[in-house]
Symmetry: C5
Subunit: 283 residues, 5 copies
């Protein structure tokens, strides 16, 4: 997106004066109009939510599910040997709120059925909220060109007052066209791609939490960590799964490795799996 | 929406004369055209219905289901102890017509199956009516730009008569563009966001009535108020539910609290639950 | 729709000369083009069908199902007492072809299963035909602006021949714009709202015939007229049903009333139920 | 469609010179562009297929299923009396390839289950091919205006070179607008209505073959021709079915009539049923 | 597509100077804008993936499933007689990665159920990836005209600075229109048809792999090669299947032919079946 801006900017600078393209009133008509209309259509809270959700997802966009599988695997083995209470303090350091809450429920000794329905409920709710956020960004992209056009028509009407002066006519038209430019740019370079981005990211996000849910339920069921690992592997795309399985084919699992991971797991949470493996190899 | 209007207005005032942008005939072409065409497409009654439904929903837009749970809970306990007749007079003061009618049917001793099918029937009907209202507002947004364009083309044709006089040409064009401006503004700043708003509000409205239905059926079944409360909690979003449950974890329910609520319940009906709790704490 | 026309007309008359806006060739391009293209897409018969169906539905747009319930109720009681043959002559006077045919089949002694499948078949066919008619009107609305544009481009090309004469240029452009005006008006003020209207009316129409079917089957089954009445009541919207039931709560049914209805039923067929009740009260 | 062309033509001739509207390069840009892009999107074979399928369906657009029922009925009776081999030579003269192949399979002594799955397979394949043909014509209608616009923009750019000469400007603009005119005309007067037409015709075509399939399976099952006739009648629209049944109510079937049909059946294949009946009455 | 380009090119050359239509900055605004916005919406990897997938599919667009049936048939017979290990080396030469991997799994002695679920998994993943690639190309077609418009508005604003000089005005406008031209051409002549093409090709591709899966499972089940052949035949369109079956009706299968195929199978992999048959006949 930054590249796109630079490109359009350089095209402008290359051919003329940047100052020509800056107009506070045009900016206010488009952005102010879009914001206020979106607040009417949804609500201020939901609008804020959409943008917060976008930035949070952008920050954590590098989701590598294999790292999560390794960490969950390590925790499951620990719980199996030493019991749930052994990880009570660690749970506080889990970054993902869904996983942290899930483990808390397990610590509280919640029944499997209740836990299952609560986690499902939270998953559905997250999904609905994210879909709404995507829809809000998309409707901002829909409103943008309309406000661009409103501003241009207002500018045209103002310009047509001074029609006898051909020079000022040109400048009036230029200013009138600015809101159309802003409306089109906001729609196509900001709101639309970001809405698409959030849609893609939210899909990955939901997949991750579905994997977490499968893992939590497996731990409550006191299943063998190996079975849990296999269930989690189903959520990987085939190529990543193949890579993961090939790695463990060569490097059979050992207790030593598990301990190394436990020492540093807080730093691994948002690392890619490649980094984790490399780090373990050197460390 | 008011903000949006102010913004566009200020943009106009900032740059020129407001009088330029007021034209009764342009206004009549757009609004008159949209209204009459909508009346043909639907009917006068349905059009009126759509707007009445919009304003009613806007008035009651601050739906807090937790308040309703508290009130229903209080009523259910009262009915359980003292029987249905003890609340006969209170029922008249319930604002929501669906809930009031439902209680009336219970008072009349209606069978559970009949009651269930009648309430379902009313719910479906409300849903269908609201969807139609949303559709009417959306189709008004669709027709607006078309009438804006019709007015502009009429204006252009009139203007082209006087083409030899360049000055009047400018003013003629300005007037012709006004209907386009009006059509775009009505569509994007009024009809479209209000249609979206009604869609969102009607969803909440339907959820509330589904919760009421679950409560009424539970009372007819003479279930324990606790079970009824749990059923109603399913309709809350997880975060609100967690807050509600956390509150009752700390403040265990007591008879005293119930009576306090009963005294003031008429004022609580449209209050947020936070206010209700605060009011009980101070009162 | 008439109001919409008047409005646009008055806007024109208010500002200029009506003669400016009349052009036979523009009218022919738009209407002729739309009609011929629709005939290609569907067929002449289906196009005629769509408009016939529209006008028939507009004529009978005041459907009040409660009147039908009263009349069917009266017939069912008569048939129960005196047998099907007693109403043989009356059947000829039923206006709705679906109901008349249905009764004929009953008179012919058709089996319930055969009757049921024939009536279902006819219902489905009516539904399919009506959907097609709605689609035809909607596609006429889609084609209109295209032919408006074709005419305008033709007009522009013709106008550009005389570009050295600026005065005739204005008039040429005005004429060229007329087809755009016609195309937009036909689409948004005629075809689109009428298509929407037919859609709404056909829904009511189908509901009415579904109710008739339920009644006919009930009569063949020799069910008690009360049961038939209840089945028919399910097709009413809740508010109308409540009104109907409240009325019979106060005015219990009597033989006298039935006879009064029988005397005048031919005139009641398309009356609203309010009128029927008022007429019985005075008569 | 021919009428539509005549109309637009006469509008042009009425107002100016036809030569103005003919431009080989505009024609090539629009048609050439649309064709080559469609070939990329689909393939040359599929494009040819779409048009062949359109013309074949237009040629046989007067499908009267009642004629087919009479002919199949006659064949079924013949087969029942004299065996399948008696019609071996007649089968070669059946025009519809689906029916002809079906009878061939029966002659070859194919099992019912195999036959059923093969016929279903062919039906599905026909349906898929026809849907693709409809889609190809529709996508040609989508591409047309785009190439019209491309041509116009090219023309505008060329024209703007000679901006100092106002007279040639007009003619340049006229030529530039021609491709827009062509693009709009091709889309709205050719591709779109033909796509809709093919969609409607293919529906009838599929219905006919489904009826054939039911008949073939019935013959293999050695069912009574009367049962086969009833199964085929289900594929008729109610009005046609009523007419057919009313006819045979009055004219009971006789051996003589069957022979008359057998003599001339080759000529009857694409006739309307009314003609067939009239012909039998006179002959 | 090349033809389409030539056509538009020749139209330009025919009427003017090609140099007029080349502008690096216009090209950069449209292509750069579309690329950067697509990278934001999806990701660089997915964008690259879409184009790689497109070119791979174009390279192998001549899929003839009958060739695959012959080759699989030959392998199945070989495996049946000499065991899986006899083809171990041949497997390395299979070009299609899905089929090669599938055979590897069989060699590794994988269980039927595991194999089935792994192959299904890979199929679904391929389908999802391809759908995403189609969507990316389609969204590039959606963004193109928007960037064309952005460039044109920027050009117009720059041009309006020099409004007093009418000659430079024309050239400025011409340059401004270039981005619109580029945007429309990229959308309608490149991105849209290629997106449609990839959609069509991916469908064939998935069908082929579904056929491979059926064959692999059949081999693991140690079914008779004849049964496997029949299962594979279900994936052919009826006309191709008929041709294939007619061929083997006349040329009964013999061991000699199988060996001939085995000798040359590596060259046959992407040949059409007609070529394979012709080659066997001559060789």
């Amino acid at each position: 997106m930054i590249a796109a801006f630079l490109l359009v900017l350089s095209a402008i600078v290359f051919q003329g004066d940047l100052g020509l393209f800056i107009s506070v009133s045009s900016f206010l008509i488009v952005i102010g109009g879009v914001l206020s209309v979106t607040v009417v259509n949804y609500s201020l809270g939901e609008l804020k939510n959409a943008w917060v959700s976008l930035f949070e997802n952008l920050k954590n966009s590098e989701i590598d599910l294999r790292t999560d599988i390794e960490l969950m695997n390590m925790f499951a083995r620990k719980v199996r040997r030493e019991g749930m209470l052994a990880v009570e303090e660690d749970i506080q350091n889990i970054e993902d709120s869904f996983l942290r809450n899930g483990f808390m429920f397990v610590l509280d000794g919640m029944q499997k059925d209740t836990l299952n329905s609560i986690l499902n409920d939270q998953l559905e709710n997250t999904e609905r909220t994210m879909e709404k956020s995507v829809r809000i960004l998309a409707s901002m992209a829909d409103y943008s060109p309309a406000f661009g056009m409103i501003g241009t028509v207002i500018g045209l009407i103002l310009m047509l007052q001074n029609i006898q002066d051909p020079e000022s006519l040109g400048i009036g038209l230029a200013i009138a066209l600015l809101t159309t430019l802003y409306g089109t740019i906001f729609a196509n370079m900001i709101f639309l791609p970001l809405s698409g981005k959030l849609d893609n990211l939210s899909e990955k996000h939901i997949t991750k939490r579905q994997m977490y849910k499968a893992a939590i339920i497996s731990i409550v069921d006191e299943e063998n960590p190996r079975i849990m690992e296999n269930k989690m592997l189903n959520f990987l795309p085939p190529s990543e799964r193949a890579e993961y399985m090939a790695y463990f084919d060569k490097n059979s699992f050992d207790k030593n490795r598990e301990e190394k991971i436990y020492e540093k797991w807080k730093n691994y949470q948002n690392k890619s799996w490649q980094n984790l493996v490399a780090d373990l190899a050197t460390g």
